[in-house]
Subunit: 270 residues, 4 copies
Amino acid sequence: MLGRFLMSEPKSAGEGFLMSHDDHEATLKALQVELVSSQLWTLESGRKILVVFEGRDAAGKDGVIRRITEHLSVRATRVTALPKPSDRERSQWFFQRYAAHLPAAGEWVIFNRSWYNRAGVERVMEFSTPVEQTQFLDEAPVFERMLVEAGVTLLKYWLDISKPEQARRLERRRSDPLKRLKVSPLDAVAQEKWEAYSAARDDMLKRTHTAIAPWWCVRADHKGEARLNVIRHLLHAVAAPELSPTVARPDPKILFPFELEALTDGRLAR
Amino acid sequence: MLGRFLMSEPKSAGEGFLMSHDDHEATLKALQVELVSSQLWTLESGRKILVVFEGRDAAGKDGVIRRITEHLSVRATRVTALPKPSDRERSQWFFQRYAAHLPAAGEWVIFNRSWYNRAGVERVMEFSTPVEQTQFLDEAPVFERMLVEAGVTLLKYWLDISKPEQARRLERRRSDPLKRLKVSPLDAVAQEKWEAYSAARDDMLKRTHTAIAPWWCVRADHKGEARLNVIRHLLHAVAAPELSPTVARPDPKILFPFELEALTDGRLAR
Amino acid sequence: MLGRFLMSEPKSAGEGFLMSHDDHEATLKALQVELVSSQLWTLESGRKILVVFEGRDAAGKDGVIRRITEHLSVRATRVTALPKPSDRERSQWFFQRYAAHLPAAGEWVIFNRSWYNRAGVERVMEFSTPVEQTQFLDEAPVFERMLVEAGVTLLKYWLDISKPEQARRLERRRSDPLKRLKVSPLDAVAQEKWEAYSAARDDMLKRTHTAIAPWWCVRADHKGEARLNVIRHLLHAVAAPELSPTVARPDPKILFPFELEALTDGRLAR
Amino acid sequence: MLGRFLMSEPKSAGEGFLMSHDDHEATLKALQVELVSSQLWTLESGRKILVVFEGRDAAGKDGVIRRITEHLSVRATRVTALPKPSDRERSQWFFQRYAAHLPAAGEWVIFNRSWYNRAGVERVMEFSTPVEQTQFLDEAPVFERMLVEAGVTLLKYWLDISKPEQARRLERRRSDPLKRLKVSPLDAVAQEKWEAYSAARDDMLKRTHTAIAPWWCVRADHKGEARLNVIRHLLHAVAAPELSPTVARPDPKILFPFELEALTDGRLAR
């Protein structure tokens, strides 16, 4: 019964979101049921799940995280969005304050923005030095490889939106009283420095996409499809042996591993 | 426009939930807008908000927390649901591991279950000694007074449900694939040891309800009304100066400060 | 054999240090043997030991701590000297960052300066507000009572030195290349603001000396005697059942519980 | 004046400790003066110092650490000797609980035993699996390179003693009432499993000695000389620009970088 929704493929995700609202909700619910099963399995097997969400402002990180965690165990799931570091923290090993939040057996930890701040906003806004940023790009893959070798299932998602879509969302945000907490002085910069952010993203993806900890790029102009595809991917990656065979693979036009061509063939927004 | 929903009073909350689904959603949304304003104000003013949710199994803690946090800042809001303590933690000062999570300026911290575990499940299931439990009841008010005097806005909500309603929810939980992570061996105990839990609740409320950190009891058999009333109460308690005058006070038949009479007059379930 | 040293009483501690260097070393060593036995006992029994050392600059806190810990277990003993709080920590519950260091079962934690900074240097140097300082004096006894009721053996020592002795030590410090790390801009203030520090000390002792967590005052003009007496007191307080009967009680002319008279009868320096 | 002691070279460290007690104390004191200068410099320059001491039981780790820290700033220096991990910690990334203790700007952190437990006692006593131990040997160099690239000055000392010297020390320990806290059931194993510990040491040194984080081997049968040489080495490595030119280089017969030949030519005990 639920299988119908799980298998339902987006028809033309590139052009528009054609699934009806009701179908979308039903599909989401079916996938959330699978997320619940997956977490039951990770709790039993002691697997450690670490998910990193990155993306431009307004790319939809909060929204997809809310859908993922909605029915997960509050005790086995942590969403981490670290505040600005103190001066003392700033002088420490860069990964130190993130390391404090890594998952123990059976836990899912989701970073809503992460160490990759250093390669994005910190670069564009010059919050750290070029040397620190370069060093970071060298070290992130090393740090991540250690985690993966320690048995952490690490999933990195880059939510990509187009410039006009971001403009629309930031505009809507300004007039939506429910989104006032998301409005920040950096919003204006997001559009003004669009190219600088593109360049930062390109370098980040090129330098930190590795076989062991690949970047999964998500075309997020259509929020609903982006969410369903991220969840589908997550489910297959966590690879619960009991994952329902009806869970569709993510649509490769919406969610795909990073590759250099994507920077020029239009799949990643310029 | 939104004001209509904010003011809308439950008609007969004791008997049933008469607000239509659409009205409910509109009211909730209007209240969430006010939550957003409140957090903007606490961020500016540096206030520290600490909310404790307690209640029997299936009383609706997760659900109300999800509605409260839905549009709040991910960086200024933390939901804390601590795992079982390690042996070393168990030997430390009881409040030590909770103290590590208290809010800094501008932060909202919401405890999904809290130190009050000691007075509830630990007592009924004999996970700690009677001496530890008695000592806890003495110390919780002292600990909480320190927090309040340190400028923390502390709000403690007891979500109360009736025995048949709990039975229904636990039953539904067992058959709902989205709620499998909530099913636990303790569920059976919840009904079997209903009276023991009532006695534990009564002692807890009597001993830890103080002028400075009162318990707010919530009749939670109707989830929707319970949520709206908790949020209304929270908004008035955080007391942002710009709180819209249209935000209704909570319905005192649904949300009321603890008093001894409530243990016998039927307002708290036996 | 060692008993001779353990019992050896200071002859005229008020006037001068008459024990020979060799006798002193032998006595110290005998007391350290007893400290070792005490810690073996606390490790077995799971007792938690918390020792707070306060006192004016150059009163000898580092020295006595070094003698106490010299032969204790490095894994069961922690000396805590917290750095300046970050802005975020400063906005939290005052005791939060101290609470993170409290002892677990079997551990000895020694604070080299502690939360009492707020009543001393912070008051004299105006590093916090008078309201914060007053509030602290109200809350420290409450916090400490909670720890004691949680089974912590809490010992608070105030090392007291006279103005001329402090002047001599600060002077010697300036010319001793081994003590350059102890020299600080606050040293000059220590003598200049001697009376302000006295007043701060008086208020602190008066307001935070409680039956359950008393202040033990130590006349520390003679370092050696001060150390021996603190260790003797500590040994009796930890009260290991196997404490050798030959361990002398501390000399009440050197180490005594705070009482108001001590502020005027010359036992505490003005 | 002090220079005389700083330069004084051990005459025949291999055979015996020929420096008189007074000369030794004077030399130690002169070196401690230089340690103080070095820390003043690291405080000013914000350098981060991380020192790891490893070695067989009774090799003298506690003693050398005590001499190093004796006159350092209590606020800028931390000695870390972690207790056994909890089950939850055991399931986390292996380096996570160590990462929490890394130095911030200006701090010296000294590990009294460290992550290398996994390659030593855990291997010999089978406290972890061979797979975990092998993985550790791969990852320790990676972890350490990250720290060094983050600006940490990392110094790793292996204190090496001979089998008869260890036997003597463990024997003396058993009869010295000051050392009762050092006696452990593992002491017996140290001699019984001498070869297993040698093999573990050999693999550890071979696999984790890197250009960026080399192992400094110290012949520690003569405690005094070992201490002086470690401090000399530490001083040159911290490389305070103002380091007195009179500070002798460590004696290469006593302290030398690891090399394969040392495993067979008798410099490292078999």
